[in-house]
Symmetry: C2
Subunit: 193 residues, 2 copies
Amino acid sequence: MTDRRAARSEDRTAAIMRAALELARESGYAKLNIEAVAARAGVGKHTVYRRWPSKGLLFLDSLLTVNEPVLDIPDTGDVVADLRRQICAAVDLLGMPPWGPLYRDLVGEAQHDPAVAAGLNERFIRPQTEKTVARLEVAKAQGQLAPDFDLGLGMAILSGPLYFTFLITQEPVTHDYVDRVLDALFAGMRPRH
Amino acid sequence: MTDRRAARSEDRTAAIMRAALELARESGYAKLNIEAVAARAGVGKHTVYRRWPSKGLLFLDSLLTVNEPVLDIPDTGDVVADLRRQICAAVDLLGMPPWGPLYRDLVGEAQHDPAVAAGLNERFIRPQTEKTVARLEVAKAQGQLAPDFDLGLGMAILSGPLYFTFLITQEPVTHDYVDRVLDALFAGMRPRH
């Protein structure tokens, strides 16, 4: 591609993702469809389908691209504070309207559609897991984590209680709740003698 | 109601729930519908609708009624062993075919349909939470649990990592995985000095 054509293609990609987020926010996930996104972005629907085979993947990609920094975990030297900061950023993005209900719909769709489940894992969960484990490894090397803590569980243990609350009991996930979960996970359920 | 009419009504309820489970197992959750359940059970569809306003609630009720014991947590005096036994029973029931995919579909529907979410909580999650907290309270009184463990998080912390794996990464939830999660939760992430 020439530089100009590459730039046009990038503009088009950005316009499609912007249109997807606008339409999702305006009308909800159930009414989101690729034809309407293409029309709003001023491109043909095949241009959208070529890159995103389903609206679930388009919505997820759009949401994450616009909010990429939410994936990053800082390293200030205090692992609890750093996890807290990143989890609260994710909770602010995904746990509240309008994105909360939209993300909930997407996870719902992942229960029926293996392609959406795979996309969710590839695009969001796996990179997030890698960043979480990398941060936990540093903490372990610095003696801030139990030396036998099972790093392979890091993501499930840290995120699981929040997903349970978000998806199952469907109660609000607040910063205070994040604090309580982190306190309980770091302290452990067993008494310290 | 006379005794005979009450018995007939109980038979009918049992027949409806049996038919719902049979049809769900045969054709999957997507194809389950109340008309077919009524026909299989030999009752009118209004008889089904009167008690279960949606197929989600009928399916959940049927699944739990047939498997009621899975909700119980034993008390042998060893809280980790007791939790392990109950969680493994639930994992055996809900984590494997045919019930695993059916339960996943139900949770997926709870993301779009507040009535299904409410029914899931009322019928399954809340009773399970009460039993879990009651068992943890006994353990706390016996000094088997950290005295400051936040009991209000008991269900989310114990179930969350397993739901995360079941619903999000969609990897198999094995007994070995349950052991690893319980070990990590009881030990805590912070080093013990």
